[in-house]
Symmetry: C2
Subunit: 229 residues, 2 copies
DNA sequence: TGTACATCAGTGAACGCGCGTTCACTGATGTAC
DNA sequence: TGTACATCAGTGAACGCGCGTTCACTGATGTAC
């Protein structure tokens, strides 16, 4: 079907459902095997369709990669949004998010409140090695491909805005620029932590997790700029 | 020369020099073009030798990858070691390291001392986009290959020990476990920061750099555990 | 209700290419006697 | 000093394979009349 254009991104017909199915398989394969083994043929095989059929929906490999990336980042953002949208109420511990709180607070004690729940939920996300691996792939891809980098930066821009809003609610006196700066450092810490908690740069230890939680919480909730040197 | 074994890793003859030359080219290519284009043929072409000649020194691609990785991590560690070996003296600002201090302290003021110089030097390293890109590649590689992961964890283990020693000198009362935990979080922050300062996850901003410097410094120098919630 | 036709969904074979690896071979360089 | 020989350093061609892409083709499904 060379003269016909590929199906558009909107609509809810059979084609759209198939397209979504193919993306499901592609995403699964990318997480399981990494970018190096992410070929049109292997995705088609994983999805149980023929090569030509996959190409009916994604004529070029780059189309498939872009679509998978968009979905992965969109899904991560969807997962973050409800966590970060809850305005922090600094009373007794709020309802912990579903899935429990696997991060031990170590010697820091048990910091209550929505911010602590938020950090714990974000770190709990890193318990899925496949997801951490996927983000490592995405970073490497972004480092080499400016189009991917633009998409990744868009993701972290939105993520950062959500965190900054959370901080603004949590630390009333703080101006917007300071909130953004704190949010940026918070993301640096959490994303860096994924490398050191998922076996890539190191394995998790309860002590480091405790200190991580404390530092992340300070970024989210500490009332004023640090006392200085 | 199929029956002869490849040259050993020790010695200083012509073979060793050639081997080092080839690794220079390979490293350069890996940084410039990424792992996806890192093939035996492209490395041979970059080094100006024939494919068969490269294979005389590195019979399999995996041998070349392992050798380059070892050198990259070793070289980074060599760069870190003198920075971290200097015991922190908390007097007026020590001699800034060569290359200047491109990180602005923002609203935090100018925290003096060896720790601040250290953080500034580490962040200055991240001004080289090629190096950041290379580490992104290495993380992705480690996420997929346990042998690579082991080498990467070894690197960060040594790096972490150096940082922990620095902290132990800087914060006299702190016990060893707390120093290690702080060192781990420090590395999470600095490695995560590389993504957000080199255009991968975001671009640098002076405000975020200022907050980053302040948070990193606190991890290195703050006298006691945080005041708690 | 039936027919003609366009579009959609899916098949299957072939293309040229770059890849890692194998292998037989050739000079150059040392080393023993 | 000369010769024989082993090892080192480097060449060049070929292999089978998986890759992305192209393209002609076939049923199924809708749509107009």
């Amino acid at each position: 079907m060379s003269p016909a254009p590929p199906p558009a991104g909107t609509g809810t017909g059979k084609g759209e459902r198939k397209r979504a199915e193919l993306l499901d398989s592609a995403e699964e394969l990318l997480i399981a095997s990494g970018y190096a083994e992410f070929s049109m043929r292997s995705v088609a095989a994983a999805a149980g369709v023929r090569l030509g059929h996959l190409q009916y929906y994604f004529p070029a490999r780059s189309d498939l990669v872009a679509a998978v990336l968009e979905r992965v980042l969109g899904r991560s953002l969807d997962r973050l949004e409800p966590l970060l949208a809850t305005a922090p109420v600094e009373g007794p511990a709020a309802e912990p998010p579903a899935g429990g709180a696997p991060v031990r607070a170590g010697a820091v004690g048990a910091p209550a409140g929505a911010s602590a729940d938020l950090v714990r939920a974000l770190l709990a996300d890193q318990d899925d090695p496949a997801l951490v691996r996927l983000f490592a792939e995405v970073w490497a891809l972004a480092a080499l491909d400016e189009a991917v980098a633009e998409a990744v930066r868009g993701f972290y821009r939105k993520y950062g805005e959500l965190v900054a809003t959370h901080i603004a609610c949590s630390v009333p006196g703080l101006d917007a620029a300071a909130c953004r700066a704190r949010a940026a450092v918070f993301m640096m810490l959490v994303e860096g932590a994924s490398l050191f908690r998922a076996g890539i740069a190191a394995h998790r230890t309860p002590e480091a997790d405790g200190r991580l939680l404390a530092t992340a919480l300070e970024l989210l909730t500490r009332p004023e700029p640090p006392p200085g040197a």
